[in-house]
Symmetry: D2
Subunit: 289 residues, 4 copies
């Protein structure tokens, strides 16, 4: 069993760290807001009062933080854990992930970027999908730990690749939500029976996980997250920034990013991302608020 | 068993008509190019030398034609079959479908619009999905015939609704192809392992029938149809025209329609619609031809 | 002086026909709603009670009608005026214009498509810009008549070309309105002084006739037409349809057409086209209605 | 006359600094590549061998640098000039401009953001347009210096506003180039006479400075800059980032940014921004390279 330092005990990080404890690992956790660290201690973890304390003596460091600047902010502390394997599971910019990996190598650490999909439920149940970028040896070393957290662990390429695949994932998901929202708005405006339409659309080439899981919130207008508009807006910023850096135009990605920005600025930031439907309905004059 | 007149024995229509013959129906077929009618006769059908002859005495008339003007062109002949149930299974504009239904009712016929998805394979195997618009009684009357042709028969609303759902289907499918193409182009430009990326994307909320069935042609650049770019371009014209008529803006639909138009005008009209990837790769400077 | 039949005495057509009378031409006018024909007679024109009567004996026929189907609807009557020069000044689809010209030639008429820009004011003052498609000889023959109506008469190519240029004009104008609306919304959200910003933007490469003439309605939210959203929506349909036919993708044109469709479906159809700003402000959460 | 420190003697900065010398100011210049500093000395300026030396004792500091990080990089040096008025004329992100102004105020300097339009020619001739953000008093103090450099000096709001207006300017310019490129591609595909079409388009509501100055390079395919694609790509990144921060969706801005990114990634980065036409022509299948 490994000695693990875990930084970031939020909605995703806390259940992940707890799963590692339950799997028999020796996990020391830290979160900026101390209440979360205390909750971790209540569930069997060891509490640290700083990031540096959390990583002291760690063989593996896991970070699960909101955004690129948060990862940058703890990097100096993490890099004190010379010899450790740093697995950053935050969703951040691929360029930041590559820069972090470079710094880690120069400080004598190994590093992987390993963002996840599957949401809070996947974190609690240990069924996340993990997209891993880095060296094959390091992925092999990390696998026993990652398999506690997720059911699908895929090595997708060198440093930064995990983040690029996550960016692609968020691009496809947002776009598919947007397409389903456009389709439902068209169908609604034409007095089609929406539930029947969703049934037949789901069974063919138009079928998708988005249609399976998000049609119900869209038909009922119950947008309890799930995954929040604000976070998806952030992730589309990463995807478009990454494409910009790579010289890849994204006509559809850029268009759906404007719709997600509209959802956010119109006050739907805390709703499930399927609330993108509200923007389309408003564009079509079907609602006023 | 019903006396059926079947007009349009193309790639889709011929196997559909043959399936009706095999199910024991008395089917008289007609196609504008007589070779197709002859092939139908070889497979047990009765050949007619005009649309009017095909529908004479028919209880059910099925039309399976390329586009709105083709349906308009045979309407006068079909309307001579007073008392019949006309099932138009072509993919045409919802407005045309509604106009056809009105004319049918005034001529003493019942009418349904019943476009399909599932492609040539679905037509051959009798496993199409059928989206039916019209009166509930007429759908009930048509069901025994439709169940020979498809495995999913869904009544989605009044006249024209079947076409609107088909338009929504084609909007979502084209858009999803576009999103997957953008994602793959981004991944390729960043040296990610594409097959691994597709594996992990498929398992989560980014998963779709498009990703399941079209990732392989996209990764191998083998764009054997399947469903041709030219036809999808036509269908996006229907979707956008229908949205225009309904007062529904489609930001993503309009964007992907430009990409499909580019695929066509760049000479990829006869390739599978997943060849939309070629347009994205060219935009990204990854290919020159 | 010419014997002229003039069909379509609307907001544009009536002052144009009156200007021809004042220039000494012998003008017989017809409008479907007879009140307009009566007003023309009050201003010195000769009233006809049918399109056919209006064109009887005419050397020149001018049509100024709302849309392609309206031109189609009077074509049979106009074509009775064998030997005449038919100048269609309506804004219609280039494909319809070419078809009309073909029919005219087969019936022994010459034909030009000659749509205009410059609005009601240009029609009243005789200062329209006229974009003429057709044969050079016919343009030369039409010039004395057209110079009564406009100050800029440009022969832009063969039949249909006038309409294509008009479509391009409407594409650029709508797009520029959309860009200015986006810019003003961005500036407003950032507490920039809008009048000063417009001043400096107007003086450089961002300057345009749209910025010169439409910034004031946008800053004051006084959207008295001018040119109505509904008409511009129609014209963008022509532009996109023409591009579709020509195999030309229009990424920006398609995007702005969705915004114009939103303006219309949100109830702004009778406002000046600069009311596109309202759609952008709503997208940005700056207004609720 | 003022004692001025001038940092950044590039294509724009050098002629601006020389104009200040010629107007009688005491200007000490610095550029990272010393050849440019030497050229400034040859034209009457005082050469400094560091940014800190250039600003020593200065009443006014002007920075004219390529991008936000460059301004950040010299900030520590500029801030040693306590009491000075720092006029940053670079085109950078509004958020960076606000942060720079905050730092300046804390260090006892006054600060303005004052980006320009008008290009190299405007810099040489002293006819730039200058968009100034900051306090009114500081703008008044800067005016005598700015009037040497530009003919239009407009105070558009508080700190950062100059950059926001510049971002809006670049958004409108890129979008207008894109619209003109789409229009010309449509016209070319339809065999319209392009020069005649440009003439008539220029005279009406479709007219713009872009059409006046960029139609010729577009018609001749001679894309000598002018303003380079690479720089406009950078500026669109600023505009979209600023809109993102302000919660303003930019559907057209985002669409044209993808086209500009395509122009760059396809290898046209060093051409004039009107080379955006090449992307549209390629999308329309009119060219292969």
């Amino acid at each position: 069993m490994a000695r693990i330092g875990f930084i970031g005990l939020g909605i995703m990080g806390l259940p992940m760290a707890v799963n590692l404890v339950r799997a028999g690992h020796d996990v020391t956790g830290f979160n900026r807001s101390p209440g979360r660290t205390a909750r971790f201690a209540e569930q069997g973890g060891t509490a640290a009062d700083s990031a540096r304390a959390a990583v002291e003596g760690a063989e593996v460091v896991i970070t699960m933080l909101p955004d690129s600047p948060d990862v940058d902010a703890v990097a100096d502390d993490v890099l004190t854990a010379a010899g450790a394997l740093w697995i950053d599971m935050s969703t951040i910019a691929p360029a930041t992930a590559r820069a972090v990996a470079d710094r880690a190598h120069r400080s004598g650490l190994r590093a992987l970027d390993a963002p996840v999909s599957g949401g809070e439920q996947g974190a609690v149940e240990g069924t996340l999908s993990v997209m891993v970028g880095g060296a094959a040896d390091d992925v092999a070393a990390a696998r026993p730990v990652l398999e506690v957290l997720g059911k699908t662990i895929v090595h997708v390429g060198p440093a930064g690749s995990g983040q690029t695949v996550k960016a692609a994932n968020q691009l496809i998901v947002a776009g598919t939500i947007g397409l389903v929202a456009e389709a439902l708005t068209l169908l609604r405006a034409q007095d089609v029976d929406l539930a029947s339409a969703v049934e037949v659309l789901s069974g063919g080439l138009a079928g998708s996980a988005v249609l399976d899981r998000k049609a119900t919130p869209m038909l009922t207008h119950e947008f309890t997250p799930g995954f929040r508009v604000d976070l998806h807006h952030k992730d589309l910023g990463i995807a478009l920034g990454s494409a910009r850096e790579a010289g890849v135009p994204l006509p559809l990605g850029a268009a759906v990013a404007q719709l997600m920005a509209a959802a956010r600025t119109q006050g739907h930031g805390d709703l499930d991302h399927s609330a993108l439907l509200l923007v389309l309905e408003q564009l079509a004059g079907l609602r006023k608020d």
